[in-house]
C-alpha cells in the first residue's frame, strides 16, 4: 500500500528534526524582523521580538505537554531542542569571540571579577530576603531560594548540598527561570539607561546578571558585538555560585537565622 501524502510529509519531518528547526527558526526570525521594521519602525529590535516569540512558544509548549523543554517536548519540534541546546549554543557563542579585542578583556578583567562577586552576593541576598518575607525561616530554604535567584542551576545544586526540601528546590529553579526570562526581555529596553553600550559595561552586565541564557539572549537583542564580552564573565558565574552557595552563603545565612 502506498502511504498517504500526509503520512509521507510527517515521516520526513519526524526524521529531519534539525532541518525543520532551521526552517522554523528562520521563518520566525524573518517574521520578527518584518514586525520590527513595519510595525515598530525599528524601535524594537528584530532579535528581541524573535526571542519574545520563542519564549511565548516555549510557554505554549510547556502548557501543552507539561514538559520542561518548551517546544522541544512536542515530538515534531524536538529538533529545536538540538539547535537551541548547549552544544550549538556554546559553539556559536565561542565563535563570537573571534575578533574580540583581547586588550578590552584584560582592561576590564578586574571590574569583571568584582561584578561577578557582587552579582552573586546581591542575588543571594535579594532571593534570600524575599524567601524570608514569604515565611521561610530555616537556613537551607533561604540559602536555596537565594541560590535560585543566582541561576536555575546554582539553585538545585546548592539545595541538594544543604539538604533543602524538594519543593524548595523546585521553587529555586523557578526563581532562576523567572530571572533568565526577565533579563532576556528587559535588557534591550533598559540597555540605554544603564550605559550598556561598550565592552566594559557588557562585562559588568555579564558578571552581575550571571544567568547565561538571559545574558546571551539579552545582549544579542541589544547589540551582538557585546555578546562575547558579557558571555565571558557570565560563564564563570554559575560555577562560582555553586562554589559559594553551599559554603560561604549557607554559612552566612546560618549564622544569621541560627539553624
Amino acid at each position: 500500500m502506498i502511504p498517504s501524502i500526509l503520512d509521507t510529509f510527517t515521516a520526513v519531518l519526524d526524521k529531519n528534526g534539525l532541518l525543520l528547526a532551521f526552517s522554523i527558526v528562520g521563518l520566525t526570525v524573518w517574521l520578527a524582523y518584518w514586525v520590527s521594521e513595519r510595525l515598530t519602525f525599528g524601535r524594537i529590535h528584530g532579535s528581541a521580538i524573535a526571542i519574545a516569540i520563542g519564549l511565548a512558544a516555549a510557554s505554549l509548549g510547556g502548557w501543552l505537554t507539561g514538559g520542561k523543554n518548551g517546544v522541544a517536548d512536542l515530538p515534531v519540534l524536538a529538533g529545536v531542542g538540538l539547535m537551541g541546546g548547549t552544544m550549538f549554543r556554546d559553539l556559536s557563542i565561542v565563535a563570537t569571540a573571534f575578533g574580540v579585542q583581547f586588550h578590552e578583556l584584560v582592561k576590564s578583567g578586574f571590574i569583571g571579577i568584582v561584578s561577578l562577586l557582587l552579582g552573586l552576593l546581591l542575588s543571594f541576598a535579594a532571593g534570600g530576603a524575599i524567601a524570608v518575607v514569604f515565611g521561610y525561616r530555616d537556613a537551607p530554604s533561604i540559602t536555596t531560594i537565594g541560590a535560585g535567584a543566582a541561576t536555575y542551576i546554582v539553585g538545585p545544586i546548592t539545595g541538594t548540598a544543604v539538604h533543602a526540601s524538594s519543593d524548595v528546590l523546585t521553587l529555586s529553579v523557578a526563581t532562576g527561570l523567572v530571572k533568565a526570562i526577565l533579563v532576556m526581555v528587559l535588557t534591550p529596553w533598559l540597555a540605554p539607561s544603564i550605559g550598556l553600550n561598550n565592552p566594559r559595561s557588557a562585562m559588568i552586565f555579564g558578571g552581575v546578571m550571571g544567568t547565561n541564557s538571559g545574558v546571551m539572549a539579552g545582549l544579542a537583542a541589544t547589540n551582538p558585538k557585546l555578546v562575547p564580552y558579557g558571555a565571558m564573565t557570565a560563564t564563570f558565574y554559575t560555577g562560582m555560585g555553586c562554589l559559594l552557595g553551599p559554603s560561604v552563603f549557607f554559612w552566612i545565612v546560618r549564622s544569621i537565622v541560627g539553624s
Partner: protein
C-alpha cells in the same frame, strides 16, 4: 579550507569544556567553571597566533564566522526551549524573588558602568 576554521572552533570548545570541568572537579563542585570563557580565550589565542604567522586564510575564517553569525537564531531556538511555562505558573515567591533580583542587578550595572576608571588602576590589580 572552511573546515579548518570549524575544526579550530570545535577544538577550542572541547578544550574549554575539558578545562572547565576539570577546574570544577578540582574545587569540588558539580558544575563547570567557566568552560565557555576558557574556550573563548583559547580561540582568541589560537587565532592570534595563526594570524601572526599569516596562517589564518579567509576560508578558514569563514568556518568560524558562519557560526558566530548563526548565533541569534540559535538563541531564538534556545529561548523556545526554556521552561517558560513553569516560570510564569510557579507562584509569587519565584516571580517576586526573580523580579527583585533582576531589578536590583540592573541598578547595580547602571552604577558600575558609570564608575570612572583609569587603565592604570586596572593594571595595578
Amino acid at each position: 579550507m572552511v573546515i579548518y576554521g570549524t575544526a579550530i572552533l570545535s577544538g577550542c570548545l572541547l578544550g574549554g569544556y575539558f578545562l572547565g570541568k576539570w577546574m570544577g572537579n578540582l574545587v569540588g563542585i558539580e558544575s563547570d567553571l567557566g568552560s565557555v570563557g576558557i574556550a573563548m580565550l583559547l580561540l582568541i589565542g589560537t587565532c592570534g597566533l595563526l594570524q601572526k604567522y599569516g596562517r589564518l586564510k579567509p576560508p578558514t575564517e569563514s568556518g568560524i564566522l558562519f557560526w558566530s553569525s548563526i548565533y541569534i537564531p540559535v538563541v531564538v531556538a534556545m529561548s523556545a526551549c526554556q521552561d517558560a511555562y513553569k516560570a510564569i505558573s510557579s507562584g509569587w515567591v519565584a516571580i517576586i524573588a526573580g523580579f527583585a533580583t533582576v531589578a536590583l542587578s540592573f541598578v547595580i550595572v547602571g552604577i558600575m558602568s558609570r564608575l570612572p576608571y583609569s587603565e592604570h588602576a586596572a593594571d595595578e590589580k
